[in-house]
């Protein structure tokens, strides 16, 4: 979940008034936000909607709250669209021989507002959130902010020769080639891998040939060094998915307009045809209108509301909408900074939030349905009761463990065990193939606990099983273990016999000689219905030694799914 922080002063300034913490907690849910912390003049906000990048800035949250409280939609007049373009006053961004994997760059300029400390922090944070979360760590969106008064338009975006193109990057004293930047500059080392295997690297420069940046890595030391006091900026985004870039530019331009800047559009001329044409003027509005029927609203909410109520509810959510009373349809215009309306259901949700969740009345579902446990759960409970009656303590274990626990200590090959490809640590590298190692782990750390130890678990195990579509199988399994100075085969055999009697399972035993976990000749396979359904015996002293256990130990494991299928 994205988290942002903002100076209390600027946030209340954007909101137009101050709020107490209680008031913030009360109002934040309309933006799916939570007050994370408010101390020393800084407010921290957690945003839950991963599909609403427009809310990942203090200005964005403030806009949503202002809309909600006023019921008035914020309007922006600097957007061009397919039908009409705003005057770009000659500013252009031209793309030539775009790099293969990052074909697009777009941008807009701003002026008329002096960048303050707080503004700079806010801009950097917005840039960060958009590129990191929405832009997947700059993979799909890289953003640069430049001092537009130093730029000679048109700006050029080009796939450049990484070894022949060079400039002085921000934070360094020397001129480096693009390739050198990916090797030497901290940002190059961090973000260089996004482009380092491509034939040409993205390069942004102005008409005088001065470098703006090497996106998605680093800005130039002069044009790209924005600081407090600047009042004219150029904002540029590049990446492989044009639509994402346009949305990010829309969000940034609305934020900056709310901050007090005048937005100055830039015409972008692509080097080939795009889904939006060969050229667009940015900020650019591309969203399609969205609609839903009153019937959909009623079906989803359980409430019959008026079209007017739906329209006013949407206004609180920042959506301009129109009610067609003849067809009972709501038509809404998607705000410039949003692109999360995939289905009518999304519009209905905004109606619901605008209407206010607390204005709906909780109701019970009417239909009769039968409650029921799974057969495995029912059998598991029966088995647990028998084991408890036999004096056993029920344990519950994690299902991930180490190679040492499941393989090395158990003296088995582990060839049919499920291995995790990306373990967080070697402690969680394998999926539990049996309950017995879990029980032995208990034994190994519990020598101080009064003996006898009698423990069990009814739980799941999983291992490789090529016959299945997944190549694996998950089983419900019973494992039990007992350790005491006089604990041996006869004891465990009696326990198995008692368990099987009460489960009404007829079984016979086959001597088990080739299982390293048990003492040879003192282990048995439990056979029922011609199938092996379990195993038990005296744990091999080698295994006990591996675990550091000092008491004679028996163990048993029974496949409960096999018992269910008998």
């Amino acid at each position: 979940m994205p988290k942002i922080e903002t100076k209390e002063k600027s946030f209340f300034n954007y909101l137009g008034k101050s709020y107490s913490d209680d008031e913030l907690e009360e109002i934040f849910p309309v933006a799916k936000a939570e007050l994370d912390d408010h101390s020393e003049g800084v407010i921290k906000i957690e945003l839950n909607d991963t599909n609403r990048p427009d809310l990942w800035s203090a200005i964005g949250v403030a806009r949503a709250i202002k809309n909600y409280e006023s019921g008035e939609v914020t309007e922006y007049d600097f957007f061009s669209s397919k039908e009409q373009s705003v005057d770009n006053e000659g500013r252009e961004l031209q793309i030539h021989d775009a790099p293969e994997n990052r074909a697009y760059s777009i941008g807009f300029a701003v002026k008329g507002h002096v960048v303050s400390d707080d503004d700079l922090l806010a801009l950097i944070q917005s840039q960060e959130k958009l590129c990191f979360n929405f832009g997947r760590k700059r993979k799909t969106i890289a953003m640069g902010i430049y001092r537009s008064d130093l730029i000679q338009f048109p700006v050029h975006y080009q796939g450049a020769d990484p070894d022949k193109t060079s400039f002085q990057p921000l934070g360094m004293d020397e001129v480096l080639t693009l390739r050198e930047i990916t090797k030497k500059h901290p940002k190059g080392i961090e973000y260089g891998p996004i482009v380092e295997n491509d034939a040409t690297f993205p390069y942004l420069y102005d008409d005088n040939g001065n470098a703006l940046s090497f996106p998605p890595v680093i800005n130039s030391a002069d044009l790209g060094a924005v600081k407090v006091g600047d009042d004219a900026l150029f904002v540029e985004m590049s990446g492989p998915i044009l639509k994402n870039l346009i949305l990010a530019a829309s969000i940034m331009s609305c934020d900056m307009a709310d901050m007090g800047f005048e937005i100055c559009p830039v015409k972008v001329i692509f080097d080939s045809e795009t889904e939006f044409g060969k050229e667009i003027t940015v900020p650019y509005y591309y969203q399609e209108p969205i609609s839903c029927t009153m019937e959909q609203i009623e079906k989803t909410t359980g409430v019959k509301m008026s079209g007017e109520k739906a329209v006013s509810s949407l206004a609180k959510m920042g959506l301009y909408s129109f009610y067609d009373a003849d067809d009972e349809i709501i038509y809404a215009t998607v705000p410039e900074y949003r692109d999360d309306f995939l289905h009518a259901a999304d519009l209905v949700e905004d109606v619901i939030i605008g209407y206010g969740l607390n204005n709906f009345t909780p109701e019970m579902p009417h239909a009769f349905t039968m409650g029921r446990l799974t057969p495995a759960e029912e059998l598991g409970r029966k088995v647990k009761d028998i084991l408890v009656g036999l004096g056993f303590q029920e344990m519950m274990y994690n299902y991930l463990g180490s190679k040492k626990a499941y393989i090395d200590n158990m003296e088995v090959s582990g060839e049919d065990y499920i291995q995790i490809a990306n373990p967080m640590s070697e402690n969680y590298e394998y999926v539990r193939p049996s309950v017995i190692p879990s029980l032995l782990e208990s034994e190994s750390i519990s020598a101080h606990a009064t003996y006898p130890h009698k423990i069990f678990e009814v739980g799941k195990i999983a291992y490789l099983y090529p016959q299945d579509n997944s190549g694996t199988i998950t089983k419900n399994s019973l494992g039990f273990l007992a350790a005491d100075s006089l604990m041996g085969f006869n004891e465990v055999s009696s326990m198995v016999n008692t368990l099987m009697y009460f489960l009404r399972v007829e079984y016979k035993l086959e001597s088990l000689n080739e299982d390293n976990r048990f003492i040879s000749g003192r282990g048995a396979n439990i056979i029922s219905g011609g199938k092996k359904i379990g195993i038990f015996g005296e744990i091999n002293p080698t295994v006990l030694e591996n675990w550091g256990c000092g008491m004679p130990t028996i163990a048993c494991e029974i496949d409960l799914d096999e018992i269910l299928s008998l």
Partner: protein
């Protein structure tokens, strides 16, 4: 004084009944008059002194000498000194080893006895290194030894009864420990004299008044029952607040009990349980839930992938085609879709189930309408393990399918869970976000102990989730954060404790 004489032990009762104020009470007296054993005397004294019924009036240290086996042997055969003297008188010069062999004595005993005789000028070593007699009679000490041995034969005697000469000799003959190679054993005794106190006398009167004799019956024995002897006796009452011994019972795991209780609650509310394998593929784990394959929404479910069995062989149809199309352009769901090329290789990639909702998705393909289903499922997350994150943990969730279910029935259901399962006092609903539901609702509850917290997430499944899986009716989906309530129920504050392998910790754990 308030005395509960019913709780006195028979040893105490019999003693108290037997003695009077001002009388000296000693162990010897109890042994001879009441037939107590020494240990029983000590028990009775210590209990009664502790109760203030007896007080110690004097304590005398006494030393006794007791003949040992060796002493008895020396009494009948003579001491080594006497035997060496007699032998040498009869047989003339003899070497010490020959003496030892002839008399059946240890060489060292022969050596020390011969040394003592020589010192008293009764024997000496001649030039051939043989022992010879040079005196005519034994040293006087031997006479004293002989008389002590005789005295010892009659029974142990006390130090104070000996004269000074005897005292000097007995010191050499007696040992406190390891007395088997000495003629006498030193026995030390303390004679403690007790007297009845005023309270003790009071207790005695109470005992007599209550007609307690100390002959009451103790343990019920099979013999007692078969002979009927209990019919003529009275059972002694026991002190009911005596410390008890620890028992280790067979027990269910309290966390397991809690989960079982939740399952029972849900079945009582008409939900049918579902379950499934631990290994899933990306299709069910995310795609079927309309989480775009390459969207950041998928980052919130960082997953464990499999090294072996890395991909499923196939994805079931028609679900695969339906879902792929829905992602690409919305298919027939009325959605515009995510607008990207669905990756058919990625969708087969296998992961450890990262969210319980996977099983809800599976259930949609076989669910009835109307239907209510739930699962308590183990899930796996790629998270650093700490007090609030486990490598694997339980999630509880479910779905409600019905032509007439809607937001208001969802709120009703959440209210029911909040009250029935979490014991909430107040319930609050706030908009939430989950990739697979629209609308999405979080339910917050005010708990009597924890205050406000998020009980769970819920919503109505997006049509992009239900339609491709063959469901045309609305489906409510909900999940509850059961872990937090389980911790509270068990009085714990670390998730890792729920799955502890520590036997003692689980044995002693109680639920609330």
């Amino acid at each position: 004084m308030d005395i509960d004489v019913k709780n006195l032990h028979p040893l105490e009762v019999r003693l108290l009944r037997h003695v009077n104020l001002g009388e000296a009470i000693t162990a010897d007296r109890l042994i001879s008059e009441l037939d107590y054993k020494v240990g029983q005397c000590n028990q009775a004294f210590s209990w009664l002194v502790a109760k203030g019924f007896l007080e110690e009036v004097s304590r005398t240290y006494r030393v006794f000498y007791e003949l040992t086996e060796l002493g008895r042997e020396q009494k009948s055969n003579g001491t080594p000194t006497v035997r060496i003297f007699t032998y040498l008188q009869s047989n003339g010069a003899t070497s010490l080893p020959e003496l030892a062999a002839a008399l059946g004595l240890e060489k060292k005993d022969v050596g020390s006895a011969f040394g003592a005789l020589s010192k008293a000028k009764v024997t000496k070593m001649n030039e051939e290194h043989n022992a010879i007699v040079i005196g005519t009679e034994l040293p006087q000490e031997e006479t004293i030894i002989a008389s002590l041995l005789t005295k010892g034969l009659e029974g142990s005697f006390e130090d104070v009864d000996l004269n000074n000469e005897e005292k000097k000799v007995i010191k050499k003959l007696a040992k406190k420990r390891g007395a088997s190679n000495a003629a006498f054993k030193i026995v030390e005794k303390e004679d403690v004299v007790f007297e009845l106190t005023a309270d003790g006398d009071e207790a005695k009167k109470e005992i007599i008044k209550a007609n307690i004799t100390g002959e009451e019956l103790g343990n019920v024995t099979p013999d007692m029952l078969s002979s009927g002897s209990w019919k003529t006796g009275i059972f002694r009452p026991y002190g009911v607040d005596a410390p008890t011994s620890r028992l280790i019972p067979g027990r269910h795991n309290p966390y397991g009990n809690y989960l079982q209780w939740v399952k029972d609650k849900l079945t009582a509310l008409g939900f049918e349980e579902f379950d499934g394998p631990l290994v899933e593929n990306e299709f069910w784990n995310g795609d079927a839930l309309f989480m775009p394959q390459f969207h950041s929404a998928r980052d919130i479910h960082d997953v464990y992938r499999l090294k072996n069995a890395s991909h499923s062989k196939k994805i079931e149809e028609p679900w695969l085609s339906n879902v792929a199309q829905t992602h690409e352009n919305g298919g027939s769901t009325g959605s515009r879709g995510w607008g990207y090329k669905f990756d058919h290789e990625f969708t087969r990639r296998q992961v450890m189930r990262s969210q319980g909702t996977v099983l809800s998705a599976h259930q949609l393909t076989k669910a009835k309408n109307p239907g209510k289903y739930f699962g308590v499922e183990r899930c796996f997350r790629y998270d650093q393990v700490d007090a609030t994150h486990g490598a694997d943990f339980y999630q509880t969730e479910g779905i409600v399918i019905g032509d007439d279910v809607n937001l208001q029935t969802l709120l009703g259901l959440l209210k029911l869970f909040a009250e029935e399962i979490a014991g909430a006092e107040e319930v609050k609903y706030v908009p939430g976000y989950f990739p697979f539901t629209e609308p999405s609702i979080e339910v917050h509850i005010k708990h009597p102990v924890l205050g406000w917290f998020e009980l769970g997430g819920s919503g109505i499944f997006r049509p992009e989730v239900t339609k491709p899986l063959g469901i045309d009716a609305p489906v409510l989906a909900w999940g509850l954060g059961i872990d937090r309530m389980a911790l509270m129920h068990l009085g714990l504050n670390d998730l890792r404790e729920l799955f502890t392998p520590n036997i003692e910790s689980v044995r002693t754990r109680r639920g609330n």
